[in-house]
């Protein structure tokens, strides 16, 4: 391996902070699951956590905000789908079950 003459400092700080945030949010989710909180608020908080973690990976690892609009949209929609489904099942669980019955 040869050292590269044109080497510049890499911007790793945002990546380190993103990783740290993801680890912290993982433990926040664990804390929620081990606590007494249940019901709609628990599901809404988990939905928010899922969205936020997905957003961090999309924004800082994939850099979706700099990507082609199609890619940015695909990632944004995918990250939003499950949190939205969690909110819908939390608020409209039985109605959603009836809609999904064949």
């Amino acid at each position: 391996m040869k050292a590269n003459d044109t080497a510049r400092p890499a911007a790793l700080t945002p990546l380190v902070l993103s990783w740290f945030a993801l680890v912290c949010l993982t433990f926040v989710g664990l804390g929620l699951s081990q606590g007494d909180m249940r019901g709609i608020w628990f599901q809404l908080l988990v939905a928010a956590l899922v969205w936020f973690k997905g957003w961090i990976v999309a924004r800082y690892f994939i850099e979706s905000h700099l990507a082609h609009p199609f890619i940015a949209t695909v990632v944004r929609v995918f990250v939003l789908c499950v949190p939205l489904a969690l909110v819908l099942t939390a608020l409209l669980g039985e109605r959603f079950a009836r809609l999904a019955t064949l």
Binding site: K2, T6, L32, L49, V74, F78
Partner: protein, 201 residues
């Protein structure tokens, strides 16, 4: 067909007014298909959960939350290392980029190992795919994700071989960035599976 009739190959590296392609076009076709596949599986999860809320709440508590947490930390850390590999390559620091990639690969290899140990733990606790609707969905989701994890690990090996053979430069490293995009997408999917199967107990 003459050469003039063949459209020029776009590497996807050039920043355009409409935004850049992280990696290349091909990997984003694959990632979009991967997202569609998991959206279908998540739909199955939510339909089953809406019909059997009690089974999903009680059976999820039988899983090893330690295994789920370890896999989450492995995925997030591996994804971080691969992102660092791209960032250092972009800065022209090839040697550092290779070491970050090796670190990402080593940590990623912990995922199938942790999954194997988790399955052993499940079997020891009487949990298999026929143990109930929740476990059927859980095995479908996590095994499918594991398969995608294997593709990512194979991709890392391929990119590492190319990297060691001077395959990437600060100006052109779309292969490395394509692998990184795929691995980050696989990471996002796990970050969704983890709360669905382990946290919402």
């Amino acid at each position: 067909m003459t050469a003039a009739a063949i459209p020029a190959f776009d590497t996807g590296d050039k920043p355009a007014a409409r935004g850049r392609i992280p990696g290349n076009h091909g990997i984003w076709v694959g990632i979009t298909c991967e997202f569609v596949e998991f959206l279908l599986l998540f739909t199955v999860y939510f339909v089953a959960r809406a019909h059997f809320p009690d089974a999903f709440e009680s059976d999820a508590a039988r899983l090893s939350i330690v295994a789920g947490t370890v896999i989450t930390l492995l995925m997030v850390t591996s994804s971080f290392f691969i992102a660092c590999s791209v960032a250092t390559m972009r800065a022209g620091r090839r040697r550092a980029s290779i070491w970050w990639l090796v670190a990402g690969l080593v940590v990623a290899l912990g995922y199938p190992l942790a999954k194997y140990l988790e399955i052993q733990w499940n079997v020891a606790h009487g949990i298999n795919g026929a143990s109930g609707i929740f476990f059927t969905v859980y095995y479908y989701l996590t095994f499918t994700h594991l398969v995608h994890g294997f593709w990512g690990i194979l991709g890392m090996l391929w990119v590492l071989v190319r990297h060691l053979n001077n395959g990437y430069t600060a100006e052109n490293h779309s292969g490395l960035e394509a692998l990184a995009s795929y691995w980050h997408a696989t990471d996002i999917i796990w970050l969704i599976i983890f709360p669905l199967c382990y946290v919402l107990a």
